[in-house]
């Protein structure tokens, strides 16, 4: 299909980020996730008659953090609006949101699409709003159950400019956005749990056409992968239609994960007049410049900046750095370790290898591992000095994570010091040679691999404690010395 060349895809993304503030946007209820239904609600978030919202300042602080990290300008005045529509998960049948004066606007983030050049994606706006509850459909009971725990949770809506030109760029945008927001420690950014949600707008046009084609909104994508797949499918669908001379109706389509198609959402809710008007229960206020500057000064080093610095300071290759900077905690852990060990490459290997393996195995974040950079540094240094063998070092790491004991005490307690004394190894060397005649013969006949096998046997018999290099030398000496 040659239409890939004829057309250009235009994509914009709307991302909702649920903030992990202590309490909800307009009341004191907890924002915790996963509790029994309707257990953290109060008259205010239930929208009972006579209640009034009270703004949670922590919400503003988190919102400013994110907005600054996305390079946005901050509005001078903070104003809320009511977005009016009916749905059972929205107790007041209006959502407190922001319409014409979003907190932030005109930002951008830089993405690195695979196989492409660095590109800036504009951020049109960032605004504050409250989340709705959840409906659990129970067709067997002919009804839907309403859980309002989530009602009133603070949300940030981040709207991008329609600057993305492919599903892959959309994917990269999401990865980059998530990374930045996670660095700020204001959200779990977990699409499975719903703390990050994404709707997409996609249209196509002929290359060179300055106008925009019919925009289609895509919803119900539950992972970054789904976003990429849905947009890829939709892009093709639209191009096929236009090829056939058809018009693309402006509509909302839902991504069907099972069938891998987008389907039109035939619903009366489609063309909504939200009748926005300024929220009279919340008085507009000034966003103090001092507050914004204080937050700006307190922003952590963001992923891009960190990446450049790691390249320069630690000489790590571009491709490798991604692994370490993906999570701020891992990057910080790495730097603390390098401070002590002074060898960036070895620290990288250990964290990318053993430490991450433990994280995955146990399903834990790096700071949940009972391991601090000092411990890791100790292990690496001991291994480097030959105090313990590399193999043993890995075991010590595991033990350290399991028990929380210091590596030093583990090594001493278990007597794991590497045996580097020739005399101590003599007996084992002779035993291995005596019991492995075939390998010995293989080696003598020129098979170098056989030596590795024999070294392995020495390691086995010494419980991993022998210095493998020394063992190899001794074996070679012994075998070459004999007939």
């Amino acid at each position: 299909m040659g239409h890939r060349d004829k057309y250009e895809t235009v994509i914009g993304l709307e991302v909702h980020v649920q903030l992990s503030t202590k309490t909800k946007a307009f009341c004191g209820c907890s924002t915790s996730f996963g509790d029994p239904p309707n257990t953290h609600v109060c008259p205010v978030c239930l929208g009972m008659p006579g209640v009034l919202p009270v703004f949670n300042r922590e919400f503003l602080v988190c919102a400013v953090k994110v907005s600054l990290a996305l390079g946005c300008d901050i509005q001078e005045k903070m104003k809320f609006d009511r977005k009016n529509y009916y749905y059972p998960d929205l107790p007041k049948n209006y959502q407190i949101s922001q319409f014409d004066m979003p907190l932030a606007f005109s930002g951008k983030i830089r993405i690195m699409p695979p196989g492409g050049d660095v590109k800036d994606i504009g951020i049109t706006r960032v605004h504050l709003e409250e989340d709705a509850g959840k409906l659990m459909h129970a067709p067997e009971d002919s009804c839907s159950y309403v859980d309002l725990n989530r009602t009133g949770t603070p949300l940030l809506e981040i709207v991008s400019e329609p600057d993305m030109r492919s599903p892959e760029e959309a994917y990269e945008y999401l990865v980059t956005l998530k990374r930045i927001v996670k660095y700020l420690d204001v959200s779990d950014c977990n699409m499975e749990e719903g703390s990050l949600r994404c709707d997409a707008n996609i249209s196509i046009r002929e290359k060179g056409d300055p106008g925009f084609g019919s925009k289609v909104e895509i919803k119900n994508m539950n992972s970054f992968k789904a976003v990429r797949e849905a947009l890829s499918h939709e892009q093709d669908r639209q191009m096929d239609l236009v090829d056939e001379g058809e018009k693309i109706p402006m509509e909302t389509r839902l991504w069907d994960e099972k069938k891998c198609i987008t389907a039109s959402m035939r619903s009366k809710e489609e063309s909504h007049d939200y009748r926005y008007f300024p929220e009279p229960d919340l008085v507009p206020f000034e966003v103090e410049k001092e507050l914004v500057e204080k937050i700006r000064a307190g922003l952590p080093e963001l992923p891009r900046a960190k990446k450049f610095r790691f390249e320069k300071e630690y000489g790590l290759e571009d491709g490798k750095i991604e692994n370490i900077i993906a999570e701020k905690d891992v990057a910080d852990f790495y730097e603390e370790t390098v401070k002590k060990v002074k060898n960036p490459q070895i620290c990288f290997n250990w964290i990318k290898g053993e430490v991450m393996m433990h994280m995955n195995e146990r399903g834990k974040a790096i700071n949940e591992l009972h391991l601090d950079p000092g411990d890791l540094a100790e292990i690496i240094i001991m291994s480097g000095k030959g105090v313990i063998s590399n193999l043993v070092a890995k075991d010590v790491l595991r033990e350290c994570i399991d028990t929380g004991e210091s590596p030093d005490s583990i090594v001493k307690k278990k007597g794991l010091e590497q045996v580097s004394d020739e005399g101590a190894l003599d007996g084992v060397i002779r035993e291995v040679i005596d019991n492995n005649r075939k390998s010995v013969d293989d080696f003598k006949n020129g098979k170098e691999n056989a030596l590795s096998f024999l070294v392995g046997q020495v390691m086995r018999l010494t419980g991993g404690k022998a210095n493998p290099k020394l063992a190899g030398e001794l074996l070679r000496k012994n075998l070459q010395g004999r007939e």
């Binding site: 239930l46 009972m48 008659p49 006579g50 009016n84 009916y86 049948n93 007049d273 009748r275």
Partner: protein, 475 residues
């Protein structure tokens, strides 16, 4: 006993002189309410057990709260924890709020005996107390007439001698106009002076809770108790509450009272005009300086109000949908049917009318021409007052263009009904305080109300001037 119901001081004398326990006295109070209620229907219901229970609990209180044992009526749109609060609407059938309005907490602390539920126009939409789903309230001065609205039940209960005082809500005149029609005193505080938390919202930027009582002193005492900053209400203002009772007994020598030309034009009853002019003359005699002023944007006030208030109301009443509390219609197979059937059954005609009006003026394509425009006009009206208060201490007008009209007289003509708010609406739009007090009667014996308005948080000036007038006017 009759003397006890003249004012709070007399009541206090009576109750302090009683040997009988408060729980027994409360039963006497309840019987009094019930017997008078047959004629005027000012109470939708009286929760006898609850009131007696409260009385029993207050028995041992020492020292006694400022309003110990004083019966105070509560309008049916102010939430009392665990008690039916339904805004005189079927859509809130059975609703018992799980919390108290802040003003209720304050009255509880003052040890008042709270008598819910005073009748009102449904959701406070009305000027005659005729749209309540529990039937109209009648004016104690003339049972064929309306008591005014929307706080008609509150006003009638005070005027009819059932209670000593009441609290109501005022969005466009709903405390002042019924006070005027029933011949009692009431105050609409500055917007933000009294917490709205627990007041079932009509128009959020206009609503205020205020006191109704037999005289200025009692109103002042009640206002002192219910006013104050509330962190649960972001629109309440963190400003110290003055001792309003200290403004009593002062003269008005040298105070400037503005008379706005726009409030004395056409449409006012001859007898209302005559009584208000008498009041102006009395003020002159008492030493006030009378100044003619102009509030040029007055003529836009009613239109402005009837765009802003219904718009906010349409949004505030969206939550009554049968999902969470109150009425849920039986006749429905799906969600949309549930919404429409419930709201159709639960809301009365005037409520539906205003919701439609409000939705329309907010809708896409009309927002700029109506709602946004109305907000701009509102600023102009507010500016008129700002300017006026640079040259006067308070402004004097009639409260209502007429005395109490007959039941059913204006029900067929909503516009005619809306126009009866013409003198009270501007104070809500500007957020300024206003007081209404009796200044005479017409030939039929129906009370005429005098309104005084002052600048933001100048309730003390209102009380001072009102009390001076009251003390010196012929009873």
């Amino acid at each position: 006993m009759e003397k006890a119901y003249t004012n709070i001081n007399d009541f206090r004398d009576w109750i302090n002189g009683q040997d009988r326990p408060l729980s027994e006295l409360s039963k006497i109070m309840i019987d009094r309410v019930k017997s008078i209620n047959d004629d005027i229907n000012s109470f939708i219901s009286v929760d006898e057990d609850l009131i007696s229970g409260c009385a029993a609990a207050l028995e041992k209180q020492d020292p006694r709260g400022a309003l110990w044992g004083v019966p105070v009526a509560v309008k049916d749109n102010i939430c009392i924890k665990g008690r039916l609060t339904t805004c005189a609407s079927h859509i809130l059938d059975g609703f018992r709020p799980p919390y108290n309005a802040t003003v209720i907490e304050k009255l509880d602390k003052a040890a008042a005996l709270l008598f819910g539920r005073a009748n009102m126009d449904e959701f406070a939409f009305g000027s005659s107390c005729e749209t309540s789903c529990y039937g109209p309230t009648r004016n104690p001065k003339d049972l064929s007439c309306i008591p005014g609205g929307s706080s008609g039940g509150s006003a009638a209960a005070v005027a009819g001698g059932q209670v000593l005082a009441a609290i109501g809500s005022d969005t466009g005149g709903s405390i002042r106009q019924p006070a005027s029609m029933c011949g009692i005193v009431s105050i609409k505080p500055t917007y933000g002076r009294v917490s709205r938390y627990g007041l079932i919202a009509f128009a959020s930027s206009l609503d205020q809770i205020g006191p109704l009582a037999r005289n200025v002193e009692d109103c002042a005492a009640l206002l002192e108790i219910i006013a104050g900053y509330d962190e649960k209400d972001s629109t309440s203002v963190d400003k110290e509450v003055p001792k309003y009772t200290e403004s009593l007994g002062k003269d008005v020598k040298g105070l400037t009272i503005g008379i706005p030309a726009e409030y004395f034009g056409e449409g006012m009853d001859k007898e209302v005009r005559s009584k208000v002019e008498d009041a102006v003359n009395l003020m002159k005699k008492l030493g006030a300086v009378i100044k003619n002023i102009s509030l040029p944007h007055t003529r836009y006030a009613v239109s402005c109000y009837y765009i802003i208030a219904p718009a906010e109301a349409s949004s505030n009443l969206a939550r009554y949908d049968g999902v969470h509390y109150g009425l849920r219609s039986e006749a429905c197979d799906d969600m949309v049917e549930m919404y429409t059937a419930t709201r159709n059954e639960g809301f009365g005609a005037e409520v539906k009318r205003r919701i439609l009006l409000g939705t329309y003026s907010l809708s896409s394509g009309y927002y700029d021409a109506y709602y946004l425009k109305a907000l701009k006009v509102r600023t102009r009206i507010s500016d008129d007052f700002k300017k006026a208060f640079e040259e006067c201490d308070c402004i004097l007008t009639p409260t209502s263009p007429s005395t109490a009209f007959e039941l059913g007289e204006k029900m067929d003509d909503p516009l005619k009904m809306y126009l009866s708010d013409i003198y009270t609406i501007p104070a809500n739009l500007a957020g300024i305080p206003a007081i209404s007090l009796p200044c005479g009667e017409d030939r039929k014996g129906l009370p005429v109300g005098l309104q005084l308005m002052a600048g933001p948080f100048a309730e003390d000036v209102l009380i001072r001037v009102a009390h001076a007038f009251e003390s010196n006017s012929v009873k």
